[in-house]
């Protein structure tokens, strides 16, 4: 029996298909051009001199150091939490799972400022005010890490869930029959199989943390040489009318973000992982 449905090859498209694809190309192309244009506008607005002066500024140097440190710590914390959460949510079925599922997505759907405000209010409660007497968090460096962690971890959890969903439970089951305990099966089979997802989760968490601004502004303040991270620098430089420095720092962040994207694609992760967002 011959095929009822014939599929035209890509080389010989029907005229109506051409119109369809032309429309898609126009819409997609407009968006891609807009993205490219914004990056190019920043690049052409600034000069190597602006970048050099920005890098020489002690405040900006402090912000770069604080950004790198806080993003790295946030990434480690996010992975530490996202791997077990992603694994449990994928492998177990329990009562109230839908509620936990919704809670895990809260940082993704909430406006960033609201996350900052919520953290600020949380740390006004009696037990956490007691904690702050011993270990200051609000308007100090730990508040930056916590604010970044709230959002970055949610994205890391999403990535780890997508990763574990792709690893068949059969692999662990076979490992169990081969003599592994649950923990051994996790360490010897699941984690190595998930390594690409872990790298993706780490790079995404790092990139999200680097760009976090709203919660940090509310929860950590914008004190120079104290709680100033790179997005805060852009905001502070803009507020005093120093557009050149603001654009130079923005460009630094764009370069960092592009490096992260190149890293992900270099590992071939975008092909092997379905990103849930």
């Amino acid at each position: 029996m011959s095929d009822v449905v014939s599929r035209p090859s890509p080389q010989r498209r029907h005229p109506s298909d051409r119109v369809f694809f032309a429309c898609l190309f126009i819409l997609s192309g407009t968006y891609v051009l807009l993205l490219a244009a914004t990056v190019l506008a920043d690049a052409f607005y600034t000069t190597p001199g602006h970048l050099w002066r920005a890098l020489q500024s002690p405040e900006i140097q402090h912000a770069i150091r604080l950004s790198l440190l806080s993003c790295t710590l946030t990434t480690i914390l996010s992975l530490w939490v996202a791997v077990p959460v992603g694994y449990l949510m994928t492998r177990l079925r329990f009562r109230g799972q839908a509620l936990v599922d919704a809670l895990l997505d809260i940082p993704i759907v909430l406006p960033p400022l609201v996350i900052g405000l919520s953290l600020l209010i949380l740390f006004q409660t009696a037990p956490l005010r007691l904690l702050e007497r011993v270990f200051p968090v609000t308007y100090a460096v730990p508040s930056i890490i916590l604010a970044q962690f709230m959002v970055a971890c949610a994205f890391a959890v999403r990535t780890m869930r997508a990763t574990f969903e792709q690893i068949s439970p059969r692999h662990e089951q076979v490992a169990l029959t081969l003599g592994c305990t649950r923990a051994q099966a996790f360490w010897m089979v699941v984690l190595p199989s998930a390594r690409r997802g872990i790298v993706t989760a780490a790079t995404l968490a790092w990139a999200r943390a680097l760009g976090e601004f709203g919660p940090i502004l509310v929860f950590s303040g914008a004190t120079r040489m104290k709680t100033e991270v790179l997005p805060t620098t852009v905001y502070l430089e803009l507020s005093v009318g120093n557009l050149e420095a603001a654009v130079a720092v923005s460009l630094l962040m764009i370069i960092a973000a592009v490096l992260v994207l190149v890293l992900i694609r270099g590992w071939g992760l975008d092909r092997s992982l379905h990103h849930p967002f």
Partner: protein, 216 residues
């Protein structure tokens, strides 16, 4: 020997009740039945991957009903092989031996022996991504047999293979059984395959086990 005594096991919303059967040591038993009849559920219960809520499972004269999969001495070969993508063929064959902390020399000798039986010596350093379907199933068989299990559970290991490869793996299974005397419980949909390999064919139908009249 495997004995299931009035075993009841649940899989999702579906329950298999009062299943009893005995499989003699060193025999090859094929378990057939329609899709959804509960064959894999029963196999998982034997392996310890699915808890039974009634009854008793005995392997080699020992009640293993409450024992974890690791302690049962049951090797499993799933339909797709379920090879570990990050390990080489050699590491697959050695996996159970590393977990059991075998001495290096003893483990190497066992890996070499299995690789010889299964024709895996030329591909010991390859990873699953570079293996054909037949090679992958031979690796899965070697991995499951490495630690000298009493029982080998096969869950449709030949269903995804082409005819030639299927015939090749049938020969490998016959050869392995002759060498190891392992007791085999083999789920299959293919009657020809069952008749070629098994001493006895069981049918799982309407929640109970029947002996096929065509058993060898």
């Amino acid at each position: 020997m495997i004995a299931l005594r009035k075993v009841s096991v649940r899989a999702g919303g579906f329950v298999l009740r009062d299943i009893s059967l005995e499989i003699a040591s060193g025999s090859h038993t094929a378990l057939m039945g329609r899709t959804g009849a509960g064959k894999t559920t029963l196999l998982e219960a034997v392996c310890g991957l699915r808890p039974v809520f009634e009854g008793q499972i005995v392997v080699g004269g020992r009640d293993v009903t409450e024992e974890p999969p690791a302690a049962r001495g049951v090797g499993l070969v799933p339909q797709d092989g379920a090879l570990f993508q990050h390990l080489t063929v050699r590491e697959h064959l050695a996996f159970a031996l590393v977990v059991r902390r075998w001495e290096r020399d003893r483990a190497s000798a066992r890996v070499d022996e299995l690789a010889g039986w299964l024709g895996l010596r030329p591909i010991l350093d390859r990873r699953p991504a570079g293996l054909s379907g037949g090679e992958a199933q031979r690796v899965a068989l070697g991995r499951a047999l490495a630690f000298h299990p009493d029982i080998l559970c096969l869950d449709e290991p030949l269903s995804a293979l082409d005819d030639d490869t299927r015939s090749e793996i049938c020969e490998v299974l016959t050869d392995l059984r002759r060498r190891t005397q392992v007791t085999i419980l083999h789920i299959t949909h293919n009657r020809r395959e069952a008749e070629r390999l098994a001493d006895r064919i069981l049918l799982l139908r309407d929640g109970s086990i029947q002996i096929s009249p065509h058993s060898a």
